[in-house]
């Protein structure tokens, strides 16, 4: 299988490249990047053949493409992939506007190619097991959620996350989609209304985008969920350690601190700790599923529509921030 990586703008791209190398069915990897210097450097480091344009890469008889461009540039990349007839795995949020996300879904539908949003949480064994129990009625009827997806500011890695024109916003744009998708998936229903508040306090207000964001989503059935998306954690914390979900059901409460199985390691002479993650790698599982679906000519587990729904909620959230009141989620 021949896989192309469109842009290294998103910092996950490096991890994706590394994981792809260990998927047996992937025989060849190519990469392209608007930032040629970055593209060459990271292609070489990751064992991918570098191409100087998206067009060149898409001409390489690819079986699948992974889009890691800046958020505002994902639409163009996905439309190009669709035009080339290549299925796409696209970083989230799919786009900075719901209209763009809708256009991406439509383009792929028309071209008859799959569009899969990159939601690695769907591949967490702990979360999948939780959903199984939930669906089987073992946990009782879900009534409310208290969820966080707090991270360190990703700006050390890529400055564009703080450029609203490219990112669509700060902490909310960067962190909400994964939780929104998780909640939609667990509940099997759509968000009806969103309330959101943000501030710019962390890092002394240095970022032009919001660095703290709290959302409250109300679903059609009345179930409500709060989401904390803030850039409030330290770089020293383990990946995904800021992901916590408390679900309250008629039977009580379950607190999931997913992906928290780590061994904490502090070297004796080193004051900073590091984390040695245990358990499977979610990116690996997600990429394996994407490439597996291509190989088997079946639709991927997560659809373009799921990606679009998350963008709709994000858009409503930003409107709510402006208006100071909850806003109805509009469907495209």
């Amino acid at each position: 299988m021949r896989i192309g990586l469109l842009s290294f703008a998103h910092h996950h791209s490096q991890a994706y490249l590394e994981r792809l190398q260990s998927i047996p069915r992937v025989a060849w990897i190519g990469a392209a990047d608007d930032d040629a210097g970055r593209g060459r450097r990271l292609s070489q480091a990751g064992g991918a053949q570098f191409f100087s344009s998206f067009e060149d890469l898409l001409g390489q008889k690819l079986d699948g493409v992974i889009v890691c461009a800046e958020t505002a540039r994902r639409r163009r990349a996905v439309e190009m992939a669709a035009a080339a007839g290549v299925p796409v795995l696209c970083e989230v949020p799919l786009a900075t506007t719901a209209a763009d996300a809708r256009a991406m879904v439509d383009a792929c539908q028309r071209a008859g190619v799959a569009l899969a949003p990159a939601f690695p949480l769907r591949f967490s064994p702990a979360i999948r097991s939780f959903k199984q129990d939930l669906d089987a009625g073992k946990l009782g009827r879900p009534l409310a959620f208290n969820a966080t997806n707090c991270t360190a500011p990703p700006l050390e890695q890529r400055a564009w996350y703080a450029d609203k024109a490219l990112s669509g916003g700060g902490a909310l744009a960067g962190n909400a989609a994964h939780l929104v998708d998780l909640l939609r998936w667990l509940l099997g229903e759509e968000a009806a209304e969103v309330y959101a508040r943000t501030n710019h306090i962390f890092a002394g207000g240095a970022y032009p985008v919001e660095s703290a964001a709290l959302e409250m989503i109300t679903f059609a059935s009345g179930v409500f969920a709060s989401l904390d998306l803030s850039w409030s954690r330290s770089e020293l914390a383990s990946p995904w350690s800021g992901l916590k979900v408390e679900m309250v059901s008629e039977r009580g409460s379950i607190l999931a601190h997913a992906l928290h199985e780590n061994v904490e390691h502090f070297a004796a002479l080193d004051t900073s700790g590091c984390w040695l993650p245990l358990g499977g790698d979610l990116n690996q599982a997600m990429l394996a599923e994407f490439t597996g679906a291509i190989a088997a000519s079946r639709p991927p587990a997560v659809s373009g529509l799921d990606g679009l729904r998350a963008v709709e909620v994000m858009e409503a959230a930003y409107h709510s921030v402006e208006e100071g009141q909850p806003v109805e989620v509009l469907r495209y």
Binding site: F202, G204, S221, P326
Partner: protein, 341 residues
């Protein structure tokens, strides 16, 4: 000074134990459910009284530990008699009532102090000291959680009678609105939801509130009556520009009891127990008493009690209306309300 406690329920008992550690003379305990009052009063060398009126002439301080909806009338009655008042949270059921209480106390020249005991819990105090010392810079996000099981009471369960108690968004979560304000200052707007808001007969209750402070800080408060007895959890996280403070009373408790306790054995209401040398309830009563006795400032004021009621009322209103509620500026809170003399 002489003190009389009003209410022989769980809070009355906790306060009595606190007063016994002060130099105050415990004169009496007044309760309508007099059967519980007499033996309890005797334990402290005090008398049982059937009502506030009979107790009033004999005391200098009244400590009100009755259900929320009774605070207003009882406080005004005590103030009219020229007595100082300590009053359990919430200070009153409504902002209007709390404002009248403040104004009456000022006019009469007596002290009115709300018993917001979380301000006396070591983790909460310690965290605030760190914030005030600048250890984490300006607070950006505050996350607070307080969770117990559904309180059980005999017939006439006033906790569950929202008109009287204000429901979870007031009765339980007011602790955290007060604490959030103590950390990050005045609150500008409130948005809240609770389970019984859309399913009144739900077997569990959970409330979530998002507070926006005038400073820009955001507070996320969660309240639960949803855990199995006798579980309780309280936690705080304060995220600042330069660091994070976190304390989790469920996990940090010296002994974590995961034993299954039959409901009959579970205490009436969940109250966090601490292994600290000093019981926070006792420290609280001691500080409130000293403040009254010596005419001194205290870490909490009547204006704080009023501000917390205002936030709580707004949270209830938000959950009912589905809208975010913007708080009016209250002169009693924003003015020179630091010292109640």
């Amino acid at each position: 000074m002489r003190v009389g406690i009003l209410g022989a329920g769980f809070m009355g008992k906790a306060h009595l134990a606190g007063w016994a550690e002060t130099g105050a003379e415990i004169v009496g305990l007044a309760s309508r459910t007099a059967s519980g009052a007499a033996p309890l009063a005797a334990q402290y060398g005090a008398e049982a009284f059937p009502d506030l009126e009979s107790l009033l002439p004999l005391v200098d301080i009244v400590d009100i530990c009755t259900p929320t909806h009774l605070h207003y009338a009882m406080t005004l009655q005590a103030i009219r008699a020229g007595r100082h008042v300590v009053c359990e949270k919430p200070l009153a059921r409504t902002t209007e009532q709390a404002r009248h209480m403040l104004q009456a106390a000022r006019a009469a020249g007596v002290r009115l102090l709300p018993a917001h005991v979380v301000r006396f819990f070591p983790q909460y105090v310690n965290a605030r000291n760190q914030v005030m010392a600048g250890e984490i810079g300006k607070p950006g996000v505050i996350r607070l959680l307080r969770g117990f099981y559904r309180p059980k009471k005999p017939v006439g369960n006033w906790f569950l009678d929202e008109e009287k108690s204000g429901g979870i968004l007031m009765d339980l979560m007011i602790h955290d609105y007060d604490y959030a304000r103590w950390i990050a200052g005045e609150v500008e707007s409130v948005y809240a939801r609770k389970i019984t808001g859309y399913w009144p007969e739900a077997p569990v209750e959970y409330g979530l509130a998002i507070l926006k402070h005038r400073s820009g800080a955001l507070t996320h408060a969660a309240g639960a009556w949803a855990y199995p007895p006798p579980a309780f959890r309280t936690s705080l996280e304060i995220f600042g520009e330069g660091g994070l403070l976190a304390a989790d009373a469920g996990n940090d408790a010296p002994v974590n009891d995961l034993l299954d306790m039959p409901p009959a054995e579970a205490p009436d209401i969940g109250l966090p127990v601490t292994e600290q040398m000093e019981d926070p309830y006792t420290v609280q009563i001691q500080e409130l008493y000293t403040a009254i006795l010596e005419g001194r400032d205290c870490r909490v004021t009547a204006a704080d009690g009023l501000a917390a009621v205002q936030i709580a009322e707004a949270a209830e209103q938000s959950a009912r209306s589905g809208q975010a509620i913007v708080l009016d500026l209250l002169p009693e809170v924003t003015g020179d309300a630091e010292v109640e003399k």
